[in-house]
Symmetry: C2
Amino acid sequence: MSLPKQVTIVEVGPRDGFQNESGFIPTKQKIKITDQLSETGLRRIEATSFVHPKAIPQLADAAEVMAGIKRKEGIRYMALIPNVKGVERALQAGVKEINLVVSASESHNKSNLNMSVAESLKALKEVARIALDNGMRIRGSIATSFGCPFEGWVPPEKVDEIAREYLAMGVHEVCLADTVGMADPSQVSQMVSRFRDKLKDVEFSLHFHNTRGAGMANVLAAMLEGANIFDASICGLGGCPYAPGATGNIPTADMVHMLESMEIDTGVNLSKLIECARMVQDLLGRVLPGQVMKAGIVPWATKKQASS
Amino acid sequence: MSLPKQVTIVEVGPRDGFQNESGFIPTKQKIKITDQLSETGLRRIEATSFVHPKAIPQLADAAEVMAGIKRKEGIRYMALIPNVKGVERALQAGVKEINLVVSASESHNKSNLNMSVAESLKALKEVARIALDNGMRIRGSIATSFGCPFEGWVPPEKVDEIAREYLAMGVHEVCLADTVGMADPSQVSQMVSRFRDKLKDVEFSLHFHNTRGAGMANVLAAMLEGANIFDASICGLGGCPYAPGATGNIPTADMVHMLESMEIDTGVNLSKLIECARMVQDLLGRVLPGQVMKAGIVPWATKKQASS
């Protein structure tokens, strides 16, 4: 197997995870978790979302979170931005990297953002202009790139179109998201090979969910085609409103464990990450999907880490 | 990706799953579940174990189960056999295919079977002789082939040795088992490529656990090296006494869903399998790990099935 030597993991628990919790996690706890994540060796963290507090009350404290966390040198903290108001709030909060989202399927975009895809892209164009004028880094995410809960199969040409729009806006990264966990490894392999060259001038990342158990297999399939930036969520926080009871994002410790076992460098200290995962599980007070935090580390997963 | 066109799934829930339940599942329920599994299109089912009832009281009803199930034409029903007494009981019960187990690591074999590896192999040789004399088909399983909870790394040479012993006994199949879910895709890739030729004259199967979340990625890695027989367990039943709280086997429906999405033929009807999984979850009365039974089927996973 031909695999990348190094993978960057984007920890999205503080955004994708916390926004899917039924209750509001106190701001202090959010800050504590994010600060502890910052000590694990992770290089990128999606810290919050500047969405309207009425739309996602769980993240109404975005500005307080950004002001409260210790921003560690070398870590890129990202915030999700839905509109112009959001990017203005993010600017005030000192955010340096933003994440834009639009769906590849009309009905999911309508359901998620209450706009058509064209309306979303128009709004994001203005957001991107403001962000670039202020020296922000931009990720453009394409939701439902691998399937839509309403429309089913999403033609890759739809994803192409949005990727082109993002590139025209001047984004620094494009992320294909399997928002509801419908992807399979063959599809992932084809999609990564389709987009690898189209996106060669920006960072190319993938956001998989484990909704149907195939998340880690999809990561493997993507790596075999050269992908090396993946989203994950502490303890597997995050879910899917369309699949009640199903798990959400790939648990970060499980991903790090698999990659480090394969001698793929993530930069993450597994022991510290598991300590953090167990703290999160304790704080939230229920059993969370992450497996390695329950089963423990296989000795050779940390062989290099112990010797370095 | 170069993948097999067809994969055989060995359903091990009625053995590996039921023996890991804390309580005794009534014989009638076991028979009902196995009979329903027989209607899904599965071609192989590990139905029970003829182990001493004191060692595993959960499966003390092995003979009653074998007598009670409807053995459907075209399905191979297998039973695990630990010793000569077991194979004699199995013969009386009309078992036609048996599964032998020995560990690749001394300390796991000692802990699991209270014998040294050499003692186990000696005993299994006699079991195999009796089985062959009576026209039974034999699978030889090698536990802890990918790691041991006590010894950690297991040298592949140890697995080689046992595989050679099995072949000398005249087995029809060798199964490498990741008994405690320590395998990673790189290791799996290397092991399958190492054993592919050595085992070319028998069936070569793999038994992965999802203890650390990498089970499905390991299946993908194995398929990329040509493997096409995998164990799975209904709802992900089964666990690991060394990793309390962690999940056990790969849930059958999740495996079938991923494979059928990739247009790999399993012969299994996903809708019927999910119906069966939901019945098992209801009967056991607690939430089980299987994801697809909660999240539902992606439309293209059953495209061929619907049209056939």
